[in-house]
Amino acid sequence: MECPYCERRCRLTEGGVGFCRMYELSGDVVRERFPHRWCAYAVSRVETIPFYHAYPGSRCLVIGTASCNVDCRYCSNNYVAKEDPATLQDIMIEIPPARLADLARKHGCHSIVFSINEPTVSLPSLLEVAVAAREAGLVMGCLTNGYGTPEAVELLGEIFSFVNVSLKGLSPEFCQRYLGIPDSAPVVRTIRQLAAQCHVEVTTPVIESENDHELSAMADILASVGRETPWHVFRLLPTYKMSKESYPSIDALNAKLEDLRERLPNIYFHNFIGSQWVDTRCPDCGEMVITRHSLGCGGDKLDQFLCDGDRCPKCGRRLNLLGTKVEWDAREVGA
């Protein structure tokens, strides 16, 4: 039977597993091997994921499972995403959906965000978590590599109110060499599909001389999805199989983004300490509306939220925000 969750469409046989090793065949049903077993839960700022345009300033409970369905050479969470999930089960925590939602509530969180590995490999569990989260008044967000089937992406759009899709490269050569997938067409399709369902931001890690020449073509794609789509261009942090590679030049990459900023107003360049390209300006009048601190990989934070709700405080233009600012302690138990 074909696994219905990702574009690898692995053929599952009784007793066998597919590429991600997270699903198995049980009779004529594809089922999860390790449902509701999480690698971690931790309080974080929504900007760290990163989400810059969804509920700014809010507190989220970050969760993840194990494994992934693509094979990035620079995977920063390889110790969870690339290990055989069966060998990690002794350090996983089994948390049923209602208890997970309750943990988020007790930690004063506004949302639950799946961001450590790929949600497509744990979709049935996440569907159940979404029900519990909804009952608890929590929204959900995720990071995804976008390499799901249209049916799975439909489910992602139902579960998550805000999604950050990684558009890592376009050419088949890049996709095959760096991601272990044939091409990027399914990822682009996912971005378009999700943009019709929920709030979408996009992230692109840039490897100098490898995919930086594709930035303009990516900008065209994002402009066609929505000119104000937030786009997080990451300076690649050399890790995993690329740990011996050089760090890309910040000045050189930023120079390539200068022209693109004329076409897309919400381009951010970060994933390194101290970036000054993490603030949001009104696309019409240029007023500064949100400022942030860049602490590098997984550490960004809100500095000042200057909008009037979801509008520019100067010209009144509506901004591409999901919700508006959420006070850090808005959901604090007893606050």
């Binding site: 971690a40 969870v80 925590i93 208890r99 760090y247 390194f272 300490i273 101290g274 590098g296």
Partner: protein, 376 residues
């Protein structure tokens, strides 16, 4: 104003440490520090050159600034043992390599160098799950032994009391009593502190498999050249005494206990009664301030409560203020701190210049150097 030079390799930006906002920093030290930092890109927490980076950078700062006091932390052996499956011989060799680097620093700098181990490590066993309580259990990534419990039910307390991985449950009042605090001192203490037995740890925030974690280090080693010391809180005063007539350095070796401490040493108490420090903020502050800071810095506080956009010092982790009474502040001469234990360098030492790796969960972001003072 303290300024921070953020160095992401071939690219620097200078910010006000308190606000995190870019500043046009001026002063006699700014260009010197920028130059030294640029010369020493951080190789990584577990990189074989991780400790060499500390010593080389410190020696470079000594040439540039001529300090009388230097505080160094060498942590490569700690991170490696914590996350990498190493044999006992490999771990011992790494500890010895760290001691050798401390010796190299002493020889090349000419400083009277006191070497201190933060305590040995032990094998991590099955994690303790605090997710299934009626109350809220809070553990942090870097504390294996201590966690906080908030609003626990009777059933929570009964269940935890029966958990074979736990050593004790200590109420806020017990912690206050242990360290001589008044009721008003307990605002950042949990309702109940959960204390794990040696080898056990709490599972929630750590993504990586833990291999070795801090042992129950009631005592830690201090090189014999400082003379006998009773407690970790006595070290600061002894160092200040020594600074009266010579240049002095402390080299702190993370994850090294008496067993691996091959230089002549004494031991000193690393806490009070059953409470022993792990190599985190509380231990650093006990060493650098000469006082126990458990009420504000313990493994069970809900640090995320402070993490609003109004929190000052955005590049200083969970610290909301810079501690006072540190050795760097109390020593009137020039001082530097260099280490691969990130923010602890600039927050806990109080040295005029503090240079540290900017790494989070082993992700190497670069280097941060803080200039607290330029007037000496």
């Amino acid at each position: 104003m303290s300024v921070a030079i953020l160095d992401a390799r071939q690219w620097q930006r200078t910010v006000d440490l308190r606000t995190g906002h870019q500043v046009e920093a001026k002063g006699p030290l700014v260009d010197k520090v920028r130059t030294v930092v640029d010369r020493h890109p951080f190789p990584g927490d577990r990189d074989p050159a991780g400790n060499t980076w500390v010593v080389d950078t410190a020696l470079d700062f000594i040439k540039a600034y001529d300090p009388g006091f230097a505080f160094l932390t060498l942590a490569r052996q700690y991170y490696s043992a914590r996350y990498s499956p190493l044999s006992p011989d490999e771990r011992a060799a790494m500890a010895q390599a760290a001691l050798d680097e401390a010796d190299r620093f002493a020889r090349e700098s000419g400083f009277f160098t006191v070497v201190i181990g933060t305590g040995g490590l032990t094998q991590a066993t099955t994690p303790i799950d605090l997710s299934d309580l009626d109350g809220l259990g809070v553990a942090s990534n870097w504390s294996a032994r201590y966690a906080g419990l908030y609003d626990p039910s009777r059933q929570d307390l009964d269940r935890l009391s029966a958990n074979p991985g736990l050593e004790r449950l200590a109420t806020r009042e017990e912690i206050l009593s242990l360290f001589g605090g008044a009721p008003g001192d307990g605002a950042r203490l949990p309702d109940v502190m959960v204390v794990a037995k040696e080898g056990h740890y709490y599972k929630n925030t750590s993504l990586r498999r833990l291999i070795m974690i801090p042992a129950r280090n009631t005592f830690i080693p201090v090189s014999a050249n400082l003379g006998p010391v009773d407690s970790i809180t006595d070290i600061k005063a002894r160092l200040l005494d020594a600074l009266g007539d010579r240049k002095v350095a402390v080299v702190l070796l993370e994850g090294v206990g008496k067993a691996d401490f091959t230089v002549s040493s004494n031991t000193c108490r690393n806490g009070v009664d059953w409470y022993c420090y792990e190599p985190v903020d509380g231990q650093y502050l006990a060493l650098t301030t000469g006082k126990h800071a458990v009420f504000e810095h313990n493994g069970g506080y809900r640090y995320f409560l402070d993490d609003t956009e109004h929190k000052p010092y955005p590049f200083s982790g969970y610290f909301t203020k810079l501690p006072t009474g540190t050795i760097g502040q109390d020593y009137p001469g020039r001082s530097i701190a260099v280490g691969n234990r990130s923010m602890f360098m600039h927050v806990t030492t109080g040295c005029d210049i503090a240079c540290e790796c900017f790494a989070r969960n082993l992700y190497n972001q670069g280097v941060m150097a803080v200039i607290h003072r330029q007037d000496k």
